[in-house]
Symmetry: C2
Subunit: 209 residues, 2 copies
């Protein structure tokens, strides 16, 4: 079982690490971090780089592909090398998954046409451009396509997928190992729960939306 | 405001990324990933490497230090270079923080003597060897020392600390940006909630405990 996690400039670290620390603990799984070119790939703030061990041409038949998001999805949504690779690997994956604005990359590759999907709340309204139907859910499964809401939702997505693949016991074991018993000190984690003024302020601060 | 995140061989990725994606979004903060030697540092499964941009000798006065954990804490608990660095930077930090077994590194450096602390549930009973009093809490503040439970608890710790430093509004804004509205598909994230059989099985599977 090979799980490929796509990296690209200015990805969001937790988008990639959430599924890695959950689904990636699937017994016997090989996780490979892959990018257009192997080597360090720097995330959205410029302060953390992950190493891509493989280039896209070296990973052509993963069982699962995971696409993290980032605050500037348009760059990769217009990168033929990435979109072609997504279409190629999707032809043989058993699951094709995304976190956050990663769903916009899948959508731009034409893979979510006619499907229900989710993504970061601030970018949900762009999914219909590509024929996808956005939902307000945290994790959406439609056929083999699994999309998660923003950033931290990849943890819930990874556990969900792990349960589907390896069973509830395996998923519970991973949840316990990563001590995922969340106790957020605030309750502002979704636009429905956060103060309306805060939601409006964050929307206004994003130059891309 | 400089936030230093320590990296070392076989660290757990989410331990470092949880605080990074929360506290690291503090307006104006500079986050620097630091290791004994600069360059790629590979995590616990060997499948993901982060880049340490600085060596220990290049980061001597961070305002905040964050120590992630990993499944093999004894290696760094017996590494004088790391322990000396922790003691040196702690002399001038405003906050000294850890996630998971990172508290054992702080403890081994002598920094938690007489303090309440937490860490990964499987390693809590080792804290008293170093004079620390383990609690079952997810995030523990004792003076300027902040410790978090296993792996995913670093997200809650980062938001807690962010609220203390920058105020509740700033913390809520980050929670909303990373859409931290957790919806775990299972309820097995702590030894108190998971099936007793599973807790026992995981304890037995760890050769180090």
């Amino acid at each position: 079982m090979q799980i490929a996690v796509l990296l690209y400039d200015r990805f969001t670290a937790l988008d990639a690490v959430g599924p890695f620390e959950t689904l990636g603990r699937l017994p016997g799984a090989e996780v490979v971090f892959v990018a257009e070119r192997p080597g360090p790939v720097r995330g959205d703030s410029g302060q953390l780089a992950f190493v891509a061990d493989k280039g896209l041409d070296e990973v052509t038949r993963p069982d699962i592909v995971i696409v993290p998001g980032g605050p500037y999805p348009d760059v990769e949504m217009n990168n033929p090398a990435v979109l072609d690779w997504l279409r190629t690997v999707d032809a043989t994956t058993t699951w094709t998954a995304s976190v956050c604005t990663g769903s916009l990359l899948l959508a731009a590759a034409g893979l979510l046409d006619g499907r229900r999907a989710t993504g970061h709340w601030m970018f949900l309204d762009r999914l219909p451009e590509f024929g996808a139907e956005p939902t307000g859910e945290r994790v959406v499964l439609d056929g083999k396509y699994v999309t998660a809401a923003g950033v931290s939702a990849g943890i819930d997505m990874g556990l969900t997928l792990l349960g589907r693949i390896a069973g509830d016991d395996a998923a519970r074991a991973v949840q316990l190992m990563i001590e995922y018993d969340p106790q957020p000190p605030y309750d502002a984690g979704s636009p429905a729960k956060a103060p309306a003024e805060l939601v409006a302020r964050l929307r206004a601060s994003n130059p891309l939306v």
